[in-house]
Subunit: 426 residues, 2 copies
């Protein structure tokens, strides 16, 4: 029976039973974490052999550069080849960064902010510039734009991607809208992959601002949870068809392929963009860690091997996603007190509680020893207007711990939902 269909007596009874279960949990003194999309130890072990690739004593890249020394601002050629395959661009359309794609995004926003893009006025010279933010989205994206005082406009997500009608209208009308944050494949946190139509509409945008950029954070481009994954359309290819190739900045990394603390991040863009970006990048660094680039290349060899490697990740994490979704299906679905995604890739399950319940659910979980991503974090300025979205990150805990955490989570959802419905009855 849906909770909303219960009478007051039934609800009070339900609430009391749930409260007892919650109190039992609290007494256990758990300390579990489902807050961030961290790989678990077993996943980290998958890439440990990468540390032995220099046993051959060969430190020279294919263009004859000793990777231990200075130089090669934009990366060694073999890394450019490997990672341009990963994000779907040409080797002349890629820059290899350090261990953090977030840092590459921050830097590319900063450069536009302080210097402009391809001759345009620096964003800092406007009274106000704005970014479109599909919501729910990635908190760290929003923090970058917030740092630079960029106003953020929420764009609702749909099952095929962000609301393109709204985006097309806004960017065509407002010259101060300078960018949009996108996680096009297995979006953070919803796990939604943009449909072909969505990608095409992005590629064919006609923004009023010439320096409008799509920040296409393809963080989960090869992070599938199924055996027959589907890939999103290549945005740069599509954009080229309409002469729009300068409008796209693509990002990716191996943070969840090899090591989150020591992976390789990349940025893809049109040759024209890359040329200008390299000019600015060269003022901020002599070059990123080329040993780590070569380490990755020697370990994987080819993009195909990287994709094979990702299947090992899938084998470890897919059961964790299943556990969470099964628990929700069993415990929440019959009560009608929440909805969630069943992602085919990425790192999160996005849960929508009844309106006004997310903060309290996260708080109750925390008080019983399970840390979740802060409620609101998936929205600009940390404000979820409906206070309903909670991002669950199932990869890090063991299956056993995860079972406990999921059990507690559904208890908290039930308890808070009952409280809410009861309070509305009065």
């Amino acid at each position: 029976m849906y909770l909303s269909q219960m009478n007051k007596e039934q609800l009070v009874c339900f609430k009391n039973e749930t409260q007892a279960l919650y109190d039992d949990f609290k007494a256990q003194g758990l300390c579990l974490n489902m807050a961030r999309g961290n790989p678990c130890k077993e996943q980290l072990e998958l890439s440990v052999d990468m540390l032995n690739v220099f046993d051959d004593g060969d430190f020279v890249s294919e263009n004859g550069i000793d990777v231990r020394n200075y130089g090669l601002l934009d990366g060694i050629p073999e890394a450019k080849r490997l990672f341009s395959d990963m994000i779907g661009v040409d080797t002349e359309e890629v820059i290899i960064f350090g261990n953090s794609s977030l840092n590459a995004m921050y830097w590319s926003v900063q450069t536009a902010y302080n210097k402009g893009i391809l001759g345009s006025k620096p964003w800092s010279m406007y009274d106000k510039v704005k970014f479109l933010c599909p919501v729910p989205g990635y908190d760290r994206h929003f923090k970058v734009t917030e740092f630079f005082g960029i106003e953020m406009i929420n764009i609702p997500m749909t099952p095929t991607g962000p609301d393109m009608d709204m985006i097309e209208k806004l960017v065509s009308e407002d010259e101060t809208i300078k960018g949009i944050w996108c996680v096009p494949q297995y979006s953070n946190p919803d796990g939604i992959s943009y449909s072909d139509e969505t990608v095409k509409r992005f590629a064919n945008l006609h923004p009023a601002a010439k320096d409008f950029r799509i920040f296409w954070d393809n963080a989960y481009c090869i992070h599938h949870l199924t055996d027959n994954p589907s890939y999103i359309l290549n945005i740069l290819d599509e954009a080229k068809k309409s002469g729009n190739e300068d409008m796209v900045y693509i990002f990716g990394s191996t943070s969840k392929v090899t090591f989150p603390g020591a992976g390789v991040a990349v940025m893809g863009a049109s040759k024209k963009n890359v040329e200008e970006l390299k000019k600015y990048l060269g003022l901020s660094i002599i070059g990123y860690d080329k040993m780590n680039q070569l380490r990755h290349v020697k370990f994987f060899g080819t993009y195909e091997n990287m994709c094979e490697h990702m299947k090992k990740h899938k084998d470890i994490v897919a059961p964790k996603f299943k556990l969470v979704c099964d628990t929700l299906e069993k415990e929440i679905a019959p009560l009608g007190i929440g909805s969630w995604t069943n992602p085919e890739g990425g790192y999160f399950v996005s849960f929508n509680a009844l309106n006004g319940c997310a903060k309290r659910i996260v708080q109750l979980c925390a008080e019983a020893g399970v840390t979740l991503t802060g409620a609101g974090a998936t929205f600009p300025y940390g404000i979820d207007p409906d206070d309903r979205n909670i991002r669950l990150a199932p990869t890090y805990p063991s299956l056993e711990d995860l079972a406990k955490a999921a059990e507690l989570f559904v208890i908290c959802v039930k308890l808070v939902s009952a409280e809410k419905i009861l309070s509305e009855m009065k």
Copy 2:
């Protein structure tokens, strides 16, 4: 006999003889590089065992964090300890960055520019802000401030450091002077170490701008060329004595200790500064490469071992510096056509030709196959007002190659000097 004492006939004869030697060199088709302070291959080999430190399978930092995973924005505790010793600060006064101290400097300027420092107005909100630049200095420093449109004011170097009278006067009078670039030990390119008095005067500056910062790039803090090196005074300790500790940003790296492409960079500052900087840093990155931090810690163990390790570098590069200085002493000193430093550490020999000769010398060297740092590069905006300073970087070439390069260099100095003196006779 000094070239300036020769009569026209002698000079023409000298010039023709030198021209013939130059033409011979040119015919050899050399391809050598003394442009950048790159370690040579033998130096890179010194740290190769660092790549095996994870053979023990232990990836956990002393506070229990798996360094392969996300987290620890400011570095693992054991790296903070090792590198705070290196730059002379407490472990609470240090942030561990990626592989590039230049990147840390760029970022700290950028943060001040866009956000201000400890509550002050962002530098971007002034019509104009200025930096003091001891000259000759490091070209990449100047490029950073130039990127942000910061006006640069040349400060002459003396044998004990920059002209402190001038600095004290300027910073006390002008609230728009926001910083100064310093390489206090073995300055780039002069190899000058700041005297105790100079450091004390820096520590006791009374700038009109509360957000004035000394960018103390201690790049060569343990990079000695002698057996009994002297160390400069600890600026943060001195600044604390006068309550000035917020005025100093210290930078260092292992780029020339382990690998230039894959070292560890650090920043030291007062706790108050570090607290604010970490807040901003966390928006731009989740954390730098902790595996590389632990790699360094496991390899060196202690700061003392790091200093021992530097003696091996000294054994390799000191003979190269000697060769260059000996060649200058033998070939240039008797002619009175140049002066240079005899550095006790660092990476460069700074040569001052007769005024107006540097560009032409660098050009002639290039045409005969030896690349030098561009003339002017050691000054803001690439403009050496006297066109006389040339930075020589002796570490990268083999002794044999270096001998040839040095020989060509003195030929070019002789030729251009003779041309100049002759032209002035007419």
